[in-house]
Amino acid sequence: MKYKHTQIAIIDYDLGNTYSVLNAIEFLGYKVLVTSDYEKLKKADAIILPGVGAFEAAIKSIIRKGLDKILAELVLQEQKPLLGICLGMQLLANSSEENGFHQGLGFIEGSVKKIIPISDATVPHVGWNDLNMVQDSKIYSKLKDSKNFYFDHSYYFECESKYVSATCSYGGLSLAASVQKNNIFGVQFHPEKSQNNGLRLFRAFIENS
């Protein structure tokens, strides 16, 4: 089994739902660890940046642990595959306006903005929503007919359409559900909480990258 030789690293920045992601990756049979250690991240075949939490607290914690520099080296220079989940995807942007203005990692040009529905809808956008695929993406290669995933967010990623691989409709808006740029992927939904569709996405991300 080649699975057993694939090493996945989940970034530990004190906030975030590392356990659920760890659990899903373990379920798929990969070697996985939760870490913020440079040597360990360097040895990993793919890196996952999870996220539950507020943008400001997360980015401060990342900078405090020096993870911004480590990720820039491993992901931008060495081209290691990276998957950002929810807040982890938003952290890839240049900036966020969640509770003030904050700088992000800037890996995918874009900014994070508050969802302001046009039609009647509540915020946060929470629940299972269908994706509209707008661009081929290897992370979706194992999906079947159903394309719904679990979302839970109040802010969304705004960027050029060339980076967007899928959108979702909510409150009269079309929000970026996933973004990608070279070896960097971000999903606004929670694959670790999207039952089988989520497991299919993790499998595709790891096998195809």
């Binding site: 539950v52 507020a54 629940g127 909480k193 989520g198």
Partner: protein, 289 residues
């Protein structure tokens, strides 16, 4: 389109899932991790784990037990009971909880609630409020003291919103364990008070309770405890019935009960003969993801 959610509530007392009747009587059901394993397989949309003995006894949440539960849970897991600080929330999210449910803390320590939202985001914070009808108005009620709070429902909800709650879990005390259906009258009032998602809880008897809820209100989710525990495939059979009226919910389990006649009480009836004959030649392969 955003689907409505069906949420299973695990009422946990002394580490055992119980059936709750009117906030007073409790009957044991079984181990939380086993309940979660089945609910997850049957296609539940979300699980709310509510430890009702922790706060009452001044105990912390049982983090080890929550880890065990989270291991079987590939859908969102909200955990409530015994949360008194930011540190508890940190430990819970590290144990696999995606959201925390606060009730008593809203009264005891509003600033702690606010800091949960600031640190973990609004989406992580579910505010639970118990409501009860007093003569002809609905009032917020406190489950520990079994008394009404000194606020109107609208005042209390707007206070909760300013603390940064991302969802409201509305629990009808009058309907708890009553099998009379959701308190639709109350929910219609409440949905006008707030712009954050609402989860309705209390009184669900069968799929018709959810159908009425989704038809008559805009609430995002319906939650139930008791009725999911007592029959095999309770979740997917319930969802199949809901989607016959309108495709409100997600139904993706292999057993989707689309061909089964279901009686008014929600019991499965025998399939038509020609469907059964055809089925003999269908082989469903187990998917290896």
């Amino acid at each position: 389109m955003l689907k409505r959610r069906i949420i299973a509530v695990l009422t946990v007392k002394d580490d055992i899932v119980v059936q709750s009747i009117g906030f007073q009587k409790y009957l044991p059901i079984g181990k939380p991790e086993i309940a979660v394993e089945f609910l997850n397989k049957w296609g539940i949309d979300e699980i709310a784990y509510n430890d009702i003995s922790a706060t009452a006894k001044g105990k912390k949440p049982n983090f080890e037990l929550i880890k065990k539960v989270a291991k079987k849970c590939f859908v969102p897991l909200a955990v409530g009971g015994g949360i008194s600080s930011l540190d508890d929330v940190r430990k819970l999210t590290q144990s696999g909880a995606d959201k925390v449910i606060v009730n008593n803390l809203l009264l005891q320590n509003p600033s702690a609630v606010k800091s949960i939202a600031e640190n973990f985001g609004n989406q992580c914070l579910v505010a639970s409020l118990d409501i009860k009808k007093d003569v002809d108005t609905y009032k917020p009620y406190h489950y520990l003291t079994q008394k009404y709070l000194p606020y109107t429902l609208q005042e209390w909800i707007s206070q909760i919103e300013t603390l940064g709650a991302g969802e409201l879990l509305i629990n009808s005390v009058d309907r708890d364990g009553s099998y009379q259906g959701f308190d639709i009258e109350a929910l219609k009032v409440i949905q006008n008070f707030t712009s954050i998602p609402i989860i309705a809880l209390g009184g669900a008897k069968n799929a018709h309770s959810f159908i009425e809820l989704f038809k008559q209100t805009q609430v995002d989710a319906g939650a139930a405890g008791n009725f999911f525990h007592f029959t095999e495939h309770s979740v997917n059979i319930c969802k199949a019935q809901i989607n016959r009226v309108q495709a409100w919910v997600r139904l993706e389990t292999n057993a989707n009960y689309q061909d089964n006649p279901i009686d008014a009480e929600g019991r499965l009836l025998k399939k038509e003969d020609d469907i059964l004959e055809h089925l003999l030649f269908v082989k469903i392969e187990k998917e290896i993801i």
